[in-house]
């Protein structure tokens, strides 16, 4: 199963290095083959690329935290009773189905007016992550065994204590899985979220946010193949490291929270 923690040295190496490097090499090859116009490199140094990666990671992290903070109460509310479930779940379903990019021009224009471009990027990342978190949590909340709910009541857990000590731990495995999907969705949208100028009427690249996504767009547009490939390699490695040291560990840890 792809969600298990790699235990052998070979698996760890594959996870950390070989897999991502193969992906990066394949990307570089494809870029070289199809992008024939070769321009000068040197736009970005490794130092800048690493800084850009961390700027992107910070953006994704903020959006992810917001998605969790909003997603948990929404999921709890939607499963609180049958009436709320009947009202809220179809609404969530519709909102989830509307393509994120349909919101984006509106969101960008709004944040341009406020002169807060980070807000535009974080908002779109947040919206792309939110429904992954909400729907996996809804699934988790609905399968909590009735005896666990009854035991919590018998031993006096109610209100916020019940949420904190029963509901959240009970859905922790689903929260981790939802988080993996949400953050992956964030990485998918990062190019759009950072290269904002394409969504601003009469926009120019100087309005883009500093990050690995906007560097990729800029490098592709200017045929800076080396920068493009370097940026991709850094991005892939960063995702691989996060996967190995954060998500896979959390997935393994979350097994303790599963009901038999």
């Amino acid at each position: 199963m792809f969600l298990t923690y790699p235990v052998s040295v070979r698996e760890r190496l594959y996870s950390l290095l070989i897999g991502p490097l193969l992906v990066a090499a394949a990307i570089y090859l494809v870029v070289s083959l199809f992008q024939t116009e070769v321009a000068e490199s040197g736009v970005a140094t490794w130092h800048v690329l690493v800084e850009a990666s961390f700027a992107t990671l910070a953006r994704i992290t903020v959006a992810y935290i917001l998605a969790v903070v909003v997603g948990i109460p929404l999921a709890i509310l939607a499963t609180h009773n049958r009436l709320l479930e009947k009202i809220l779940l179809p609404v969530f379903d519709v909102l989830e189905s509307v393509p994120i990019l349909a919101f984006f021009p509106v969101v960008v224009v709004m944040f341009v007016r406020w002169d807060f471009m980070e807000g535009a990027a974080v908002s779109i990342l947040f919206l792309s992550m939110l429904w992954n978190i909400v729907f996996t949590l809804v699934g988790g909340l609905k399968i909590i065994p009735q005896d666990i709910v009854n035991a919590a009541r018998i031993f006096g857990l109610s209100g916020f204590a019940y949420v904190r000590r029963v509901l959240i731990p009970a859905v922790f495995p689903q929260l981790v899985i939802g988080s993996v999907l949400a953050v992956a969705q964030g990485w998918n949208l990062i190019i759009i979220a950072e290269a904002l100028h394409t969504y601003i009427p009469h926009g120019n690249p100087s309005q883009d946010l500093f990050g690995i996504g906007s560097i990729l767009v800029s490098a592709a547009a200017n045929a800076h193949n080396t920068v493009f490939a370097e940026a991709l390699v850094i991005m892939v490695l960063m995702i691989a490291v996060l996967n190995l040291f954060v998500w896979q560990r959390l997935i393994t840890y979350s097994q303790r929270f599963r009901f038999d």
Binding site: D147, I148, N150, R153, F155, G156, P169, F259, D260
Partner: protein
């Protein structure tokens, strides 16, 4: 003195047409070990929920003490908490902490012979060990009534016999009122002072068991089992 008293209690679940509990009146004395038995769907688990306060009656009244604790069928342990923390759960909710909490939890773990498991997690325990933790957790809050919801149904015969002895020992030690739900007649006879047979939401018959503890499978035991079995399998509405 009656600690639990049902007066003409009925309960029908949503989307069900026939009542789970149908105009039941019964009482359990303070300090009694009563066993509710009956076939699946006869209403015995609903009776337990009504005593626990997890369900409310549609009609009739249920007099029950405030401090009722339950040991569930499969333990219902919180998998993210250690054995110690599972047993401490109700005490922490009640505001207990420190040495007092530790002493109470360890005493219950000792009584259930699982002290050495206190740092383990439910996923690392056998079925019998989980049940012991569930019973220890239920007793730790010092309830007036302990409800046991088919706690031995998924255990092997040897573990079941050991747990029967431990529960009886705990009952004699604490003098708690215990209501055990089971569908095994032999289990009810080996544990209960009174066996209450339910069928189709009603109390069909009651059998006082006057055998001395510890109960072993002798002639008297088999006589009681046979008497209950005859009633258990008696068809009230034979098909024509």
């Amino acid at each position: 003195m009656n600690l639990i008293l049902f007066r003409n209690v009925s309960k029908t679940y949503e989307r069900e047409t026939s009542p789970a509990v149908d105009n039941v009146s019964f009482a359990v004395r303070d300090g009694e070990m009563a066993c509710l038995i009956g076939p699946s769907g006869c209403g015995k688990s609903t009776m337990l929920k009504l005593i626990a306060g997890l369900e409310s009656p549609d009609t009739g009244t249920v007099d029950r003490p405030k401090k009722v604790s339950v040991s569930f069928q499969f333990g219902a342990l919180f998998p993210w908490l250690s054995v110690f923390e599972n047993v401490a759960l109700g005490l922490r909710t009640a505001g207990k902490s420190g040495t007092q909490l530790e002493r109470t939890v360890n005493a219950e773990l000792d009584a259930m012979r699982i002290r050495e498991l206190s740092h383990k997690y439910p996923g690392e325990l056998s079925g019998g060990q989980r049940q012991r933790v569930g019973i220890a957790r239920a007793l730790a809050v010092d309830p007036q009534v302990l409800l046991l919801d088919e706690p031995f149904s998924a255990l092997d015969p040897e573990t079941t016999a050991e747990l029967h002895d431990d529960v009886i020992a705990a009952w004699k030690r604490t003098k708690k009122t215990i209501v055990l739900v089971s569908h095994v007649i032999e289990e009810a006879v080996s544990m209960g002072e009174r066996v209450i047979l339910m069928k189709a939401g009603k109390i069909e018959a009651e059998f006082p068991i006057q055998l001395p503890y510890p109960r072993r499978e002798n002639d008297g035991f088999h006589r009681d089992v046979m008497k209950i079995r005859a009633e258990f399998f008696k068809k009230n509405h034979p098909s024509v």
